[in-house]
Amino acid sequence: MNRQDFLNELSERLADIPHREATRVLNYYSEAIDDRIEDGMNEEEAVRAMGSADDIAREVLGEGASDAEETIAVESAAPGITAVAEPKKPEESAGSGSKRSFSFEYDSSKKQGVLKSFGSEEAAEEADALAEHSFAADEVRGICLEELSGDVEVMTSPDGRIRVESEDWRGLTCALEEDGTLSIKRKRVRKSGKFLGISFDFDYAPTGDVTLRIPEGCAVPVSVSTVSGDIDVRCPDAASLKVSAVSGDILVDSVTVAEQTAIATTSGDVELKALATNELAVKTTSGDVELCDVAAHTLDLVTVNGDAELTGCAADGRVSAISTNGDLEIGIESVVANGHFETVSGDLAVTLGGNEDVYAIRIKDGPSPEVVYGNPNGNPLVLRTAAGDVELNFFD
């Protein structure tokens, strides 16, 4: 076969993989053939040295796991016959507790079935960890990073690729799902094997930190959750942002989010700086909330025991801040279309853009009767507390 026929055949076999990756593979093999020819081989020999296009395509599709994979051809007269021979029984390699997985494919045109073995689960896990963890931004429609016990940083990528970095890849998987969601998870790892005749077998949860890098201008939905780890988000853009932690702190700094931003913690603190978004929702149980230089259309803030402090913020739509025991110190420089601020025992100090003529104000302070003033046709503004102090001021 000559060089061009080989490359054509390989190109056909690679029809199902992304175009860019197929081009990369074709360039690689075309270079390899040319280098062999330059080294003194004739074209035919150089092409033969590459092996079959089928094997290459399989290797590319299997990516990484391929060299641990054994392929056994099973001759068969008719379809429907599954594994005729089992040269390697699963039990043979299961001595240390690892399992082999098999799959069987029947190719009717060749009247031949292929039995594939993908090595031990452990080898597959290792292969997953080693598999590529950088993705072309245009292939990713969303990012979901969940249930990690380490810290998470979301930063800017130096190039056009979305990158996942960690010093500890045990149990960590990055998978681009069919809908384009890049799913990043860390599973508990079972380590079993035999070393110099001694079997070992144990379970553990790796806790390494993870850095996610997103290129500038790549605005996809981003969702990050941790248990005890802190989360820092410093990537420039996102379509939507969902960040949650149980005991970890959350920091969002200099981020533009096109749609919703949702932040939630149980005991962790929340700090949002220089954030621009459409709808912002923040929920904590005992964590404190600090918003500085945040611009949103609507703002919805709920805490149980945590305090909240807003400075230099802007929100022109509906703004609601509710706390049970926390103090609310709210500074919003824009005129608010609809404001609702409420505590049970916490103090309320609210300063808004505009003045008394812009709002229809209703204040309910403890057992005393509701005070109504301002412009009856103005934007509704309600301040309510059962046992706290109330203070309302205007910037203008």
């Binding site: 360039n27 690689y28 270079e31 092996g51 990484g64 060299d67 641990a68 080898a123 080693l130």
Partner: protein, 104 residues
Amino acid sequence: MDAQLRRGILDVCVLRALADGESYGYRIIKDVSPYVSISESTLYPILKRLEAGGLLTARTAEHSGRLRRYYSITEQGRERITAFLDEWAELMRIYGYIRGEAER
């Protein structure tokens, strides 16, 4: 040789082939194959994986009227070689001990 062991060794052999300077696909194969058998189709996923892991970087340059991809090792790649050698020094010590026992 065990598939996993072979994979680990091949990674480090490819990095070693780059340790003395930039190289390209065919030359890496020629440098490594006297020690471990390696083909173009085995090398491709290794290069891809090592690049993704930041152990090597790649660039495309012209060579006699066509394009060739050149690979260079990174600091991280060199660290992988050192880590590999350290591990094996330890393993060889155990090997020596076991041999001593077996010959008795």
